[in-house]
């Protein structure tokens, strides 16, 4: 009943507006002002252009300043700091272009509004100025390209040889984590071996897999390069860690990677932000279905000693009996995981060049 009443009220309001509109037109016709002429409306619009620029510009700068601290997630990686600098430098450059062009647009709109008796200036082209305003932006773009390219090749290039390796596998709707264990080699993984107890699809016939271990959150040592290997089990996901300025898709059938060096431990960041509950978070950033917005994984940055201690305390998957049993069964079912050389070779090709040659010093003492 209420919705019907509201609907009726809306309809009546619309009818009233329609009638007022019609009334306005009729009075304008009778008073003779309906004939299109360039008069008050034109001046009002011209002034509004200027008002919009001033009020809008002020509102924009004010809101930007208000929100500045909220819009910058604290940075916790080496390349992240460099990226921030590049971001704000570029924003400054485009900000200058923004202010100049918008100002000209609105000022010209006001200044050159219709004036009775005035004639526009017939000026069809000027090749010299075209060249100038082509070359200058081109030079600016070239500078931005060069800086961007240099950073890009460094960030996407090979990880340092002593990088700590951790693998993250996205699935609907959470992340699985594994580490390569003391041998620093990730074992072979095959999706056909996956079942409820073997979520990753570990091939336990591969010796390299025996000391791998899984974890419920990612631990990384501060100040050491970290190489994240990224997989997906079903659809596209993406590893997105805003504090580290890291993003890379997780692609089923095509493992990807991203390396970075964390600069601040979780505890240090908690102290810095005055937030004892702070955690570095990994979010999924590629649409993957119903739970896309809920795929959170915590990243803990430890002091190197704490990391080594944590690492030593983890249990390798070979000690997981359910996992072993599941693997044996799936291996029998699929005929895979018999030390199958093709799988191992393929896996080795994947891993080539990515594995650390020298271990994190403390690890080798375990």
């Amino acid at each position: 009943m209420t919705s019907l009443t509201i609907l009726l009220v809306l309809v009546l309001l619309l009818v009233v507006f329609g009638l007022l509109f019609r009334l306005q037109i009729l009075t304008a016709i009778f008073s003779g002002s309906y004939v299109r002429q360039i008069g008050t409306s034109n001046r009002i619009n011209a002034v509004l252009m200027l008002v919009f620029m001033v009020v809008g510009g002020a509102a924009f700068f004010w809101s930007f300043a208000e929100n500045f601290s909220k819009m910058n997630p604290p940075i916790a990686s080496i390349h992240g700091h460099a990226m921030e600098k590049m971001f704000w430098t570029t924003m400054t450059v485009i900000g200058i272009a923004f202010v100049i062009t918008q100002a000209l647009l609105f000022v010209y709109s006001y200044k050159y509004q219709y004036k009775e008796g005035r004639r526009a200036y017939f000026f069809s082209h000027n090749n010299k100025i075209e060249v100038i305003w082509t070359i200058i932006p081109a030079i600016v773009m070239a500078a931005l390209i060069f800086a961007g390219w240099k950073a890009w090749t460094r960030i996407t290039g090979p990880a340092p040889k002593n990088a700590v390796v951790v693998e993250v596998m996205g699935k609907q709707f959470n992340w699985l984590v594994r580490y390569p264990g003391r041998d620093m080699k990730l074992g072979v993984v095959n999706y056909r071996l996956i079942d409820a107890s073997n979520e990753f699809g570990f091939d336990l016939s591969d010796k390299a897999a025996m000391d791998d271990f899984t974890a419920s959150e990612v631990h990384v040592p501060k100040g050491h390069p970290v190489l994240i290997k990224i997989r997906s089990r079903d659809v596209l996901h993406a590893v997105y860690m805003p504090h580290f300025r890291v993003q890379m898709y997780a692609v089923p059938g095509m493992p990807t990677r991203f390396w970075f060096t964390p600069t601040t431990t979780t505890d240090e960041m908690r102290a810095k932000l005055g937030n004892p509950k702070f955690n570095y978070e990994l979010a999924c950033n590629q649409i993957c279905g119903k739970g896309h917005f809920a795929m959170k994984l915590n990243i803990v940055v430890d002091e190197p000693d704490d990391y080594v201690a944590w690492f030593a305390a983890q249990n390798p998957i070979s000690k997981n009996e359910d996992l072993m049993a599941s693997f044996k069964q799936m291996s029998k079912q699929t005929g895979l995981g018999k030390g199958n050389s093709q799988d191992a070779k393929a896996s080795a090709i994947e891993e080539a060049g990515e594995m650390p040659a020298t271990p994190l010093a403390a690890q080798s003492s375990m």
Partner: protein, 621 residues
């Protein structure tokens, strides 16, 4: 106010021409057999480009309302993630469960919003309307090269629309993998229900849509190349035509690649192939597919996807150039540079697609290449902005509703285009990809700028389309509400993006990292919903004016281009007599030495001795 030039004689076929049979085109009075078409052939399956243009326009407007409604729904969710939405149950039925919007349906809403707005409104609704309406009229042709193909182009679009519309009401929901429909999510119904029948219908609809685009595009290109009137050389074409021409070429070359992506996806979905699928374990099952790559789909999709955004913006750019010149009473500054930049943008648009894929796992070397090419495309776009500014400089500006929207277009294009420079830098894209920074960027350039071009075109050419004027005051109100509205929505959205908020998120309440902008999101939602409602001022004005608008004159804007030399409501064949010949370029506004402040294209130099430039004097004999 400008006086009427003695040009009307010209458009009637010139002095001394024998009167032609179809001089009058008044349906009610004359009974010529040729004009007594059955309403089915006159209004429904019309082969007249003007009727087809109106069909595209109305269909595009209907889709715009639907697309806007969808966005209002998901902005409700984003602005008030804790709220109970029971009151929407009468409308959304089972998609509201326990007072909450179904998260899968949320993804369907954003998917369909994107699909509808990009393809159905900004491609078909923009190009379909204005290329159809203006090309024959501005080049001086009776109709398109093939009226029949043109009619088919609309009806394939209509068929595509019906299928896409019906998919909204499926039990499993419409397509829900994002408008970019990347597999495997879009290939596997077990990954999300919308990838079942909803995705099938999406693909079928898009196949028909692509057919429609190709039929139209071939027509536009052929008409521009072959059917220009006497004297209309390529360098005397209005910029609108250059824009529509290049847009059509872009479409012809890139839409077939989307078709191929869709076809391969159909094969993966229904015939067990593995073009895009490999190593998948889902819903308790290891799928048989091996060897496919989701990245391949992305390359194929974006090979269309990138030119597509230029297909959206270039017609708007062309129309804005025209409208700015007409209402500033000045030639468009740098006509040749404008053509050159359109060509530059068109060529470059084909080699930048993978800037949508910097962080997808493709070889980083490709990232370097595409970053380089992408930042180059900023240069011709910048040149266009400078030329528009120079057009306003020292003009004598008349603020018609169309002019307001044209100026708004430039402002929004500046805002949106500049943030493209951030996103084109692969290093910065690592942080910005798939965040609301990208959403803000493309909504400024496409969702606002191109839309403003659409509005400007409607207000400007309404008198020629319907023989009446739209109400100016309502036009002003519509402009200011919308202009303020879109800036209120999309400027703050950049902050949300810089903070790293991912797109296509049902809610951000699960993450501490994304908890600081609850109020801002509420603000954005309010502004968006209000801006949507402001569009009904336009809808009312549009339909009211078709029936009760002030009757137009032949050339209400005192413009120089050929479409304004037709009768107030051009009939079949556009000009009752001979088609006018063209002598000059379309921008002789405020020419020194001329008593009137504009000289139409079809006025020979011999008639304007006082304003002829030195080289034009030689042409006047």
């Amino acid at each position: 106010m400008a006086t009427n030039l003695p040009v009307s004689a010209q458009s009637q076929g010139g002095v001394g021409t024998a009167p032609v049979p179809h001089t009058e085109h008044d349906d009610h009075l004359h009974d010529h057999e040729h004009h007594d078409q059955h309403w089915l052939w006159k209004y429904v399956f019309s082969q007249d480009h003007k009727m087809i243009a109106r069909q595209f326009l109305i269909t595009g407007m209907v889709w715009a309302i639907i697309g806007g409604m969808l966005s209002s729904l998901f902005r409700l969710q984003l602005g008030w993630p804790e709220a109970t939405l029971d009151w929407l149950q009468p409308v959304l039925g089972k998609w509201i469960e326990g007072g909450k919007l179904n998260p899968e349906f949320y993804l369907a809403l954003v998917t369909m919003h994107g699909t509808i707005m990009v393809f159905f409104v900004l491609t078909a609704g923009l190009s379909g309307t204005f290329s159809n309406f203006l090309i024959p009229l501005q080049v001086g042709a009776r109709d398109m090269a093939s009226g029949f193909m043109n009619m088919l182009s609309y009806w394939f679009f209509f068929l595509s629309s019906v299928i896409m519309f019906c998919s909204l009401f499926l039990e499993t929901g419409p397509a829900a993998a994002g408008w970019t429909i990347y597999p495997p999510l879009s290939a596997l119904p077990q990954a999300i229900p919308g990838s079942g029948m909803g995705m099938t219908m999406w693909l079928v609809s898009m196949v028909f849509f692509i057919v429609s685009q190709l039929l139209g595009g071939v027509n536009y290109v052929t008409t521009v190349i072959n059917m220009r009137t006497r004297g209309m050389s390529m360098s005397k074409l209005p910029l609108t035509i250059w824009a529509f021409f290049l847009t059509a070429i872009l479409g012809i070359l890139s839409f077939p690649v989307l078709f191929s992506a869709a076809l391969l996806l159909v094969f993966d979905r229904s015939f067990g192939t593995s073009f895009f699928l490999s190593d998948i374990y889902i819903a308790g099952q290891a799928l048989h597919n091996q060897g496919g790559s989701p990245v391949l789909f992305q390359h194929l999709f974006w090979f269309l996807g990138h030119p597509e955004v230029y297909i959206v913006i270039m017609p708007a750019m062309g129309m804005v150039s025209e409208i700015l010149a007409t209402n500033a009473r000045k030639p468009i500054f740098g006509y040749r540079a404008m053509i050159g930049s359109l060509i530059g943008i068109s060529l470059l648009s084909f080699v930048v697609w993978a800037h949508h894929m910097f962080v997808t796992g493709m070889n980083p070397f490709l990232g370097s290449v595409f970053m380089f090419l992408t930042l180059i495309i900023a240069v011709p776009s910048g040149v266009k902005v400078f030329n528009w500014l120079a057009t306003l400089w020292r003009g004598n500006i008349r603020f018609t509703a169309a002019m307001l929207f044209a100026i708004g277009f430039v402002s929004l294009f500046i805002s949106g285009g500049l943030t493209g420079i951030i996103l084109g830098n692969a290093t910065l894209d690592i942080q910005m990809h798939n965040t609301y920074f990208v959403v803000a960027h493309f909504h400024l350039v496409m969702g606002s700028s191109a839309f403003f071009g659409l509005f400007a075109g409607v207000y400007h050419w309404f008198p020629k389309m319907f023989g009446r004027m739209m109400d100016e005051k309502l036009g002003y109100i519509h402009f200011w509400l919308t202009f303020i509205g879109v800036y209120l929505v999309f400027m703050p959205m950049h902050y949300v993006g810089i903070a790293g908020f991912p797109r296509r998120y049902y809610s951000w309440t699960g993450f501490d990292a994304f908890s600081q902008f609850a109020d801002l999101n509420k603000f954005i939602s309010i502004a968006a919903i209000l801006a949507f409602f402001a569009q009904f001022v336009f809808i009312f004005n549009f339909f009211y004016s078709i029936f009760r608008g002030r009757r137009a004159t032949e050339n209400p804007w005192n413009s120089t281009t050929l479409e304004w030399t037709t009768p107030i409501e051009p009939g079949h064949g556009n000009w009752p007599g001979e088609i006018p010949a063209v002598y000059r370029w379309p921008y002789d506004y405020s020419k020194p030495g001329s008593e009137v402040d504009f000289i139409p294209q079809n006025v020979p130099y011999s008639q304007t001795p006082s304003s002829n430039l030195p080289y034009e004097r030689e042409l006047s004999e």
